[in-house]
Amino acid sequence: MPTFSAVHLEFIAFAALWTIGLSAIAFVGGGIVGFAVALARISHIRALRYAAIVYIQVVQGTPLLILLFLIYFGIAIVGFNEVPAIIAAGIGLTIYSSGFLAEIWRGCIESVPKTQWEAAECLALTPWQRMTRVILPQALRIATAPTVGFLVQIVKNTSLASVVGFVELAQAGKLINNSIFEPFTVFMVVAAFYFAICFPLSTWSRSLERKLNVGRR
């Protein structure tokens, strides 16, 4: 029986790229959708606000695993038979991360003191100018750490994409283990890869936090 070798390591390393790629898709897609939902969530238009609340609650109340199943089979029902796994997983993770990022960012936007909103308003800025010139630059500093923290969650949750047949780190580990039956070795290596991706992110988060704190009360 073969044992763990460089070939397996190469296979896992390659799968790690897919994990990173899928994380990037989830973060960018989730960021765009999530930002829009966050703005809708604090809109003064009641219908928009409620729609955002419902979206966030539904997404946060659905396990990612179920969400991925729903998307994968849902797309098939709509009529696209051969859905590439990356698309199903990308859509699922985008929806998942948008539901959380929206709520994280809403909190950051609202934590900018009310007096700052008032001061901007009293200078006759439009709501858009107030948001982009006064509130968001301050919210960005507050948001950095929790956002990158959540990015770590996204990276780890991409492992669930294996259920729709997407070969990323976790799935690669399973495949190798199925052939060589060395679960401890294989999954230690997989874990090490996850750590190697996530640890720099956390470190980056901390350094960003320090940098962005300059010039702030």
Binding site: T115, Q116, E118, A119, A120, E121, C122, L123, A124, L125, T126, Q129, R133, V134, P137, Q138, R141, G215, R216, R217
Partner: protein
């Protein structure tokens, strides 16, 4: 003298708490009105109503030709005419002093960067802080921050300036430097309404004193009114301040 600000029978409650109970007063062009009274007398709320930061439940407020009580009020138009300075300065911490001042002129009046910068330096000179243009608010003292906040309002060339207890967070020395700026403004003919606890300043600079008590205008008159109050409440209030 035409009225720049006219409050007539203004009512406002927070829940069951009647904060303004039929408030009426007028402020004419070039006048300096000091609104005084105990904490909770409704003076800050009255000031915030003038700027539409609070909505009122009854009565009318007219400010520089804008019907502030009207539901259809264009708040941004109102705020082009009215500047306000807050107790807590409320400078934008992520912008330099100069950028704080340039923001509204470039955004609202579509001034070019260069013109806005010239304007910023001009108003900073007026408040005696020309050399602080590149600093961030946190690098300044409270008094300096408040003077920047005044300059930021001035840059919009308002017809009316509101001051909401602008020296309450400052020690006596810093209070002095802010009051001096306000006195210069008053001398320059700016129409001003200030909510203040600085009785000496009110007596010296204000052309009109409005004493509020329990959500009502209790007594109003020239600055000298503080020396010979006609109501026992004002006598009490002035007496306790000495």
């Amino acid at each position: 003298m035409s009225a720049v600000v006219k409050l007539a029978n203004v009512h406002k409650s927070f829940g069951s708490n009647k904060v303004l109970d039929g408030v009426s007063f007028e402020v004419g062009r070039g006048e300096v009105a000091a609104v005084i009274g105990q904490s909770g007398s409704g003076k800050s709320t009255a000031l915030r109503c003038i700027n539409a930061l609070e909505t009122i439940e009854g009565g009318t407020i007219e400010v520089c030709g804008h019907a502030v009580h009207d539901k259809a009020l264009d708040r941004r138009n109102l705020r082009r005419d009215v500047g306000i300075v807050f107790q807590s300065y409320n400078l934008f911490p992520h912008l330099t002093v100069e950028q704080n001042i340039m923001l509204a002129p470039t955004c609202v009046k579509a001034l070019s960067k260069q013109k806005a910068r010239d304007l910023a330096h001009e108003v900073l000179a007026r408040v005696g802080l020309g050399e602080k243009a590149g600093h961030y608010p946190e690098q300044l003292s409270g008094g300096q921050q408040q003077r920047v906040a005044i300059a930021r309002s001035l840059a919009m060339q308002p017809k009316l300036m509101l001051f909401d207890e602008v020296t309450s967070a400052l020690d006596p020395q810093l209070t002095g430097e802010v009051l001096k700026v306000m006195e210069d403004l008053a001398r320059g003919g700016m129409t001003m309404i200030l909510v203040t606890h600085e009785m000496a300043f009110a007596r010296k600079v204000a052309s009109k004193v409005v004493y509020m008590h329990k959500g009502k205008v209790w007594e109003t008159g020239p600055g000298s009114m503080l020396d010979k109050p006609t109501t026992p409440e004002l006598a009490d209030f002035v007496g306790s301040g000495l």
